[in-house]
Every structure is written in structure tokens, then in C-alpha cells.
């Protein structure tokens, strides 16, 4: 369903994953040969509560069409309130994005557990579809200065 149709672009997605929970879940998708759009790129961190919102904005400025946070949800080995903290980061980044004319819907977060291969793949497909509808980041005012 995410086959590239004529003239359609493949939105670039930056995925922030976590070393011990969601990244293994994403690995599992590969292991099971489940396919998702290859324009999704993962950067793995210890915990999603440590994401600097500035990185998200930076990613848009560099031309990413969407940022997906694969959080640990209740499985986080560091803290119980990880989801709430991560949600706050998402909110902050969304506000910042809106301020500079980027659709806040380009930032998405979901809990991906260490065996959540299928949910991850579904998220990627859906998010990719949604971003296709939103169009390239280059068409948004906030994304305009993407020349560097």
C-alpha cells in the first residue's frame, strides 16, 4: 500500500528508537522480513525521555518529512513516567514546529515494545501514507530554508 505511485515522493522519516526496547522491536521486523518504507531511518538512544526537541526541529530543517518516536511505553527500563515525559517532548516540539510553519502532525509518537515488529511496520506504513498526503516538507513555510 506504500508502493511508490507515479510522481509520488517517499517521505523521509526519522525514527528515534531506544537501545533496549524499541530498537530490538524494529530489528525484529527485519528479522521476520517484514517490509516497511526504506525511507525510514532510525537513530537509537538510551531512552525516549532524553530526546532534545531541538533535534526534531533540526531534522525538519534538514529535510526530513516526519519524525517518529518509538517510545518504550510502560516497558521503559529507566522510569515509569517515560511516556509522559516523552509526550511532553513531543508537545514542545510540535509547538515549536507550528511556530515556524511546520504541520505538527509530522511528529508522531507510539510505544513500540521489544517484540512489536508488526505494530512498528504498520505505524511506518500509516505514517508514510499520512506524510504523503501532507506533501513534502519543502512545501511548508518552515521547511523552506532547506537549502543547506
Amino acid at each position: 500500500m506504500t508502493e511508490k505511485r507515479e510522481g509520488e515522493f517517499s517521505p523521509k522519516i526519522l525514527v528515534f528508537s531506544t537501545n533496549s526496547i524499541s530498537d530490538p522491536g524494529i530489528d525484529l521486523a527485519g528479522l521476520l522480513k517484514m517490509h516497511y518504507p526504506p525511507s525510514a531511518y532510525t537513530v537509537s538512544l538510551p531512552c525516549s525521555s532524553g530526546i532534545n526537541p531541538d533535534w526534531i526541529i533540526y531534522a525538519f530543517k534538514k529535510g526530513f518529512d516526519g519524525v517518529f518516536i518509538a517510545a518504550d511505553g510502560t516497558d521503559c527500563p529507566y522510569r515509569d513516567d517515560c511516556s509522559e515525559l516523552t509526550a511532553k517532548i513531543v508537545q514542545e516540539a510540535q509547538t515549536k514546529a507550528q511556530d515556524i510553519g511546520i504541520n505538527p502532525a509530522r511528529i508522531k509518537m507510539a510505544a513500540i515494545c521489544s517484540v512489536c515488529a508488526e505494530p512498528f511496520v504498520n505505524h511506518m506504513k500509516k505514517f508514510s501514507e499520512a506524510l504523503i498526503k501532507m506533501g513534502s516538507i519543502k512545501n511548508e513555510s518552515g521547511g523552506k530554508d532547506v537549502s543547506s
Binding site: S10, K12, L14, S20, I21, D23, P24, I26, D27, L28, A29, G30, L31, K33, M34, H35, Y36, P38, S39, Y41, T42, V43, S44, L45, P46, C47, S49, G50, I51, N52, P53, D54, W55, Y58, A59, K62, G63, F64, T74, D75, C76, P77, Y78, R79, L85, K88, I89, E92, C113, S114, V115
Partner: protein
């Protein structure tokens, strides 16, 4: 910034190179800034390739290294040690995952997979260029291990750990040790009895003065870090002193007027409010089930000195270096109506039937009817196509066949029918299957889409099966009893799972990191898993994993010290204006307020910091970063991915 980086692109013997054009990746990155050398290799992890890397590093005076291969979960340590051997700080090595997250995930689109690989490798190079040398923190470790769950796996691990010189805390939720094996009587493949094995293990345990047992105990809290955890436990009173004996316990139990369903016998019988699971259960003293006790005081009249109704719930905090979870399994309980379960007097689960056999002397009688014909229906609760339990429970074919051999031994004339899908008596267990066939036991095979039908008409029960072994002929049998050969399911242990954050697998059992590389380790350093908590296993297999986990625990703690990941937060003194937000968010008390160079700033206590990074986003000054994940590194990676790919 590093200027002399070596890059290796792994074929992984085809796992990568079948889909990703590794030569193209190499050519696309060899001229990147800072790259001195780029190569492809068939197996980056092979010894010869490792040697070559060491040589390259030394000859070219490399100061950074990138290997694009499999997931860092597999071989990050392998290559970090290569770097170290050649004199590069291990944290200046970057692994890029172009297998699980590229060649395999996008095997349907080789061209795009190649492009992704180029971008990922470039992002790894940028990260390597920014990476700083880091030194692990060395900490001393606590000589103590907690084993949670006192079944066979837990008891065996406790003995082993004690023998290697560690202090062991064995924590069992029930008031008696031994777990499930004490319920089955004679066990395959050796024929030894479960209770006797429990006795053997128990006697070994009490010989060792570095094992402390708590029964009726549960875990309340778990905190700290590998090498030095705090474990909070809560011990429920037994109301009977364990350091005193009494000859008349049996009599006392008889006198108790309260009767409740006996869980140990899966509800087949009743037990008293003062009880033992079975006569020779350990510890020897009975326990009082206070929720059901009416405090009538009859029991206390005999041997009053052993009773103590004033015992209170006790809470303890244990200092430990590691923990092994051996919390076991539950037998699958069929749903009401599943093959007539609970709807009929002639249907039992295998676990109930084994208890019935144990409780019977002389004739085999159930519901006042002597049992002469038994129909076993296999794969109940396992290999479910639609249901939750897709897995095979591995022990049950053999357990059912073994049960049928035990029956033949005891009751010569008994007839058994086995309604199966595949008989999985693997390895030497096959011999039991052969014996059963020789005994004349009858095997009928059904298709997963056409399970047997159980029809009950009053006292009479009929099982209808389309037998694939006789060309799908419809066969009716009329057994006195139907035994559902149930599989294993994870124990209901939600609280414990939450406390330890144990990763749960697709089968809902505890999940190890990798079945071949790290089969008893979890992603939480210092938390090991063993026995049937990991998935279905027979006893030997449970013990194998229990001993493996003891070996790993001992390796972890035997040195007395441990090296902790140096991934900790770091404060930029110039930017910090001390607002205290980082301190507020930190749950590890790692942030301290300090005066330095004339101003108040936040300071990170590296021994306490766990490196989650939660303090980063809350800092309005953006004065905090995480070592190994600095802004420069992350932004460098983003740059590396986003630059255009030519050609």
C-alpha cells in the same frame, strides 16, 4: 573532529550483499571527509577480518572506526574490543545496522536498500567523527544474588551459586518450596519422583549456610544498578515457627474444621486452613492460610509452642549484585466447554489427572466410576491457530505418553487412546513413544482444522474423530475419562514483570536477548531468567538454563568489580544557570547543586547517573548533554542521512 576513520562494509556472507550493493556503498563513502580507508568484508566478525582491522588501525593510525553490519545488539562488543586491541577507545567505534534495519527489512527493494545503506553509513561516519573517548566507571559489586521462585530451577540455581561462594537469597511466593515438579509423581525420563527431587535439593540447600530461604515472600521493589541492586521483599507470616518441630502435625491438620478447595490438587480435593501441600513438603512445618482460618483455636491445643498468631508481615531490604528470575509456568487451564471441560464429569486436564493418579491407591476411580478407558486429546492450549498460544509446549506429548506408560504399569487392563496432531517425543523421549506403541496404546491423528468432538450424553461420553491415519475415517470412542493434554502458559505475574521490567516475548513468556548468544540474559543488565519462566521446558531443560544463568551470574560478580557504561549526563558549566529542573526530573538523585567559578550550577554524580537523558529536554538553557549522544553526534547523524546520494 576525527580525521582518520576506517569504514568496513560487511557482506554478512550474503545476508547484506544479496540485497545491498556493498561495493557501491563503499565507493559512495570512501571520499567522505575524515575517511582514510573504506573496505568491504565477507564477515566483519571473523577472526581474520578482525585481525585485518587491527592491522589497518595500527598501520594507518586510525582514530575512529565504523563497521556497517548487523544490529549492534549482536556484535557491538566484538568490534569495540577490536578497537580497544588496536588502541582506539571503544566508544570511538560506531556500529551501523544495515542488516536488520536495512537489507532484511527492505529485501524487496534492493536499490532503495542500497541508498539507505549509504545514508546510514554516512551518518555513522559523522557520528564517529564527533565521538569522544569515554572511560567506563568501575564500581565494586555486592556479593549477593536473589533467586526469585523456589521451584526446581530456582533451587538448583541457588545451590550452584552458593557453591561458587556467593550469598544467595531464595525467595518463594508459596509457603513451600519445589514448584510444580512436586505435583507429578514419577517424572520422565529417569523415573525419579518429583517430591524426592525436591527433598534432595532442599537437603542440599540447608547444608549451605550461604543460602537464605524466604517462603511466603514476594518482591515489593527493585532499584539500583547492575552490581548493586536494592531488593525490597515482603514476607507473609506462616503463623508456625519454622525453628520448632512437633510430632503431631498430621493430627493437628486433621482436626482443623475449615475446608477450602486444594489448589495443589487443582480443585479435585479440599484442604484445611492449616495445611501442607503434601506430606513431605518443605519446609517441614505446615502453614496457616489466615484468610480462611476462623481462629477457632483447635490447632493450638496440640504443640502450642510452635504456633505464633502474632507473627506480622515482615519487610526487608536486600542488597544484591544480580537477580535470577525462576518464576516458572502455569499449566494451561482449558476454557469452560473446551472439549467439554467443566461441563462434564468425564473431562479432566492432564495436571488434574496426574494429581488423581497420585491420590489413588488401588483402583483408579473418578466420580465413583472405575476408569478403564482413557482418551487423551493432545495440543489443548498449544499450537492454536487462532488463539493466543501459537507455540508448541514441548513437554506435553512426552508427559502424556509417559502418563500412559505409568498407567499400564499400575493398572494392567487400562486402555488408552491418543488423539494427536504430531507426536513430538524428540530425542531419546522417542523410546517412550515406542514403548507405548508396544503396549498397544492406540494413536489417532486429527487435523488442526477438524479437532475431535466431545459429546456428553448423561453419564456417557463419546469422542468423535476423523482419523487421518485411516484415510479420514470417522471413528467414535467411548472412554470413561477424557484427559486434555494441556500445555504451558506464563504464570500470572504482572506485578513482578512491572517491578523488574522483564521483556516479554511474543509467546508472553520472559524473553532472553538472543537464544544463541545470550540465552539467559535480559536487556536489563544483572537480571537473568531461567527455567520455564522463559518458555515451555521439561525439567532437564529447565535445569540447563538454571545452571547457565548461575554460570553467567558468577562470571558477572566474581571479579568483585564491574565496569559501567560511561553513558552519563554532562553539564555545560558556562550555559547552566541552575534552575533545578534537571534535579526535579532525575529519579536517581544524580544531580547535585554546586558552586563553581562564582556561580551555582548543576553537577552530575556519575556513579548515580543511569544515562536516561531525561534531564536534557527539561533544561531550558540546553546546558545538558549525554555522553555518546551529544548534540553534535545526533545532528551529525541527521546531516549524514540527509545529504543527497549521487549515482
Amino acid at each position: 573532529m576525527k580525521k582518520r576513520i576506517g569504514v568496513y562494509i560487511c557482506h554478512c556472507g550474503g545476508n547484506i550483499s544479496d540485497y545491498v550493493d556493498v561495493k557501491k556503498v563503499m565507493h559512495s563513502v570512501e571520499n567522505e571527509e575524515g575517511v582514510v580507508l573504506a573496505k568491504t568484508t565477507v564477515f566483519a566478525c571473523s577472526d581474520s577480518s578482525q585481525k585485518e582491522m587491527v592491522q589497518d588501525i595500527l598501520e594507518n593510525k586510525l582514530d575512529g572506526m565504523v563497521v556497517a553490519s548487523c544490529s549492534p545488539k549482536l556484535h557491538l562488543h566484538t568490534f569495540r574490543s577490536v578497537a580497544e586491541r588496536a588502541g582506539i577507545n571503544p566508544y570511538e567505534y560506531i556500529q551501523v545496522n544495515i542488516r536488520e534495519q536495512d537489507s532484511w527489512a527492505h529485501s524487496d527493494k534492493p536499490e532503495e536498500a542500497t541508498e539507505k545503506a549509504i545514508r546510514l553509513v554516512r551518518s555513522g561516519i559523522r557520528r564517529a567523527a564527533q565521538a569522544k573517548p569515554l572511560t567506563p566507571n568501575e564500581i565494586s559489586v555486592t556479593n549477593g544474588v536473589a533467586v526469585i521462585g523456589g521451584g526446581a530451577a530456582g533451587m538448583r540455581a541457588a545451590i550452584e551459586l552458593a557453591d561458587t561462594g556467593l550469598n544467595v537469597y531464595l525467595i518463594e511466593k508459596e509457603h513451600f518450596l519445589g514448584g510444580r515438579i512436586s505435583q507429578w509423581g514419577a517424572l520422565f525420563e529417569s523415573g525419579e519422583r518429583g517430591e524426592e527431587l525436591v527433598e534432595r535439593l532442599y537437603k542440599e540447600i540447608i547444608k549451605r549456610n550461604n543460602i537464605k530461604i524466604w517462603t511466603g515472600a514476594e518482591v515489593e521493589s527493585f532499584s539500583g544498578c547492575v552490581g548493586n541492586f536494592d531488593l525490597g521483599i515482603k514476607i507473609h507470616p506462616r503463623f508456625i515457627k519454622t525453628d520448632k518441630g512437633c510430632e503431631k502435625f498430621e493430627e493437628i491438620i486433621k482436626q482443623c474444621p475449615v475446608e477450602v478447595p486444594d489448589e495443589f490438587n487443582f480443585g479435585l480435593t479440599k484442604r484445611k486452613a492449616i495445611y501442607k501441600n503434601y506430606k513431605k513438603a518443605f519446609p517441614e512445618q505446615p502453614a496457616i492460610d489466615i484468610d480462611n482460618c476462623t481462629k477457632c483455636g483447635i490447632c493450638e491445643q496440640t504443640c502450642p509452642e510452635v504456633f505464633d498468631f502474632n507473627q506480622k508481615v515482615e519487610k526487608l531490604n536486600l542488597k544484591i549484585g544480580a537477580v535470577i528470575l525462576t518464576t516458572g509456568f502455569s499449566p494451561y487451564e482449558p476454557k469452560e466447554g473446551e472439549y467439554g471441560y467443566k461441563n462434564s464429569d468425564t473431562v479432566l486436564s492432564l495436571q488434574q489427572f496426574r494429581r488423581l493418579m497420585e491420590l489413588s491407591n488401588g483402583k483408579l476411580v473418578f466420580n465413583n466410576k472405575e476408569i478403564k478407558n482413557i482418551g487423551f486429546i493432545y495440543c489443548v492450549g498449544s499450537r492454536q491457530k487462532g488463539g493466543d498460544n501459537k507455540y508448541c509446549s514441548r513437554f506435553c506429548c512426552t508427559a502424556a505418553i509417559h502418563t500412559s506408560l505409568l498407567l499400564k504399569e499400575k493398572y494392567k487392563d487400562i486402555k488408552t487412546y491418543h488423539l494427536f496432531r504430531d507426536i513430538r517425543t524428540y530425542g531419546k523421549q522417542e523410546l517412550l513413544y515406542r514403548d507405548s506403541c508396544k503396549n498397544g496404546d492406540i494413536y489417532l491423528k486429527f487435523d488442526e482444522n477438524q479437532p475431535p468432538e466431545v459429546i456428553t450424553e448423561g453419564e456417557n461420553t463419546i469422542v468423535r474423530i476423523k482419523d487421518l491415519l485411516t484415510e479420514g475415517e470417522e471413528i467414535e470412542i467411548n472412554p470413561d475419562l477424557i484427559v486434555l493434554v494441556t500445555g504451558m502458559v506464563p504464570r500470572n505475574n504482572e506485578r513482578l514483570e512491572k517491578i523488574f521490567k522483564v521483556p516479554i516475548g511474543r509467546d508472553r513468556f520472559f524473553n532472553e536477548i538472543h537464544p544463541k548468544l545470550r540465552p539467559v540474559e535480559t536487556v536489563i543488565d544483572g537480571v537473568f531468567i531461567a527455567g520455564t519462566s522463559q518458555g515451555p521446558k521439561n525439567l532437564t531443560e529447565s535445569i540447563l538454563s538454571s545452571l547457565s544463568s548461575s554460570a553467567k551470574t558468577y562470571s558477572l560478580l566474581s571479579g568483585g568489580t564491574l565496569q559501567l557504561e560511561p553513558i552519563v549526563a554532562i553539564v555545560n558549566k558556562n550555559a547552566c544557570e541552575w534552575c533545578g529542573k534537571c534535579d526535579e526530573v532525575c529519579i536517581y538523585d544524580a544531580i547535585e547543586k554546586k558552586e563553581a567559578e562564582g556561580k551555582t550550577i548543576a553537577y552530575v554524580n556519575e556513579a548515580l547517573c543511569k544515562g536516561c537523558g531525561s534531564c536534557i529536554p527539561v533544561c531550558e538553557q540546553r546546558a545538558i548533554e549525554l555522553k555518546g549522544y551529544t548534540n553534535k553526534e545526533i545532528m551529525g547523524m541527521i546531516d549524514g542521512i540527509m545529504e543527497e546520494v549521487n549515482g
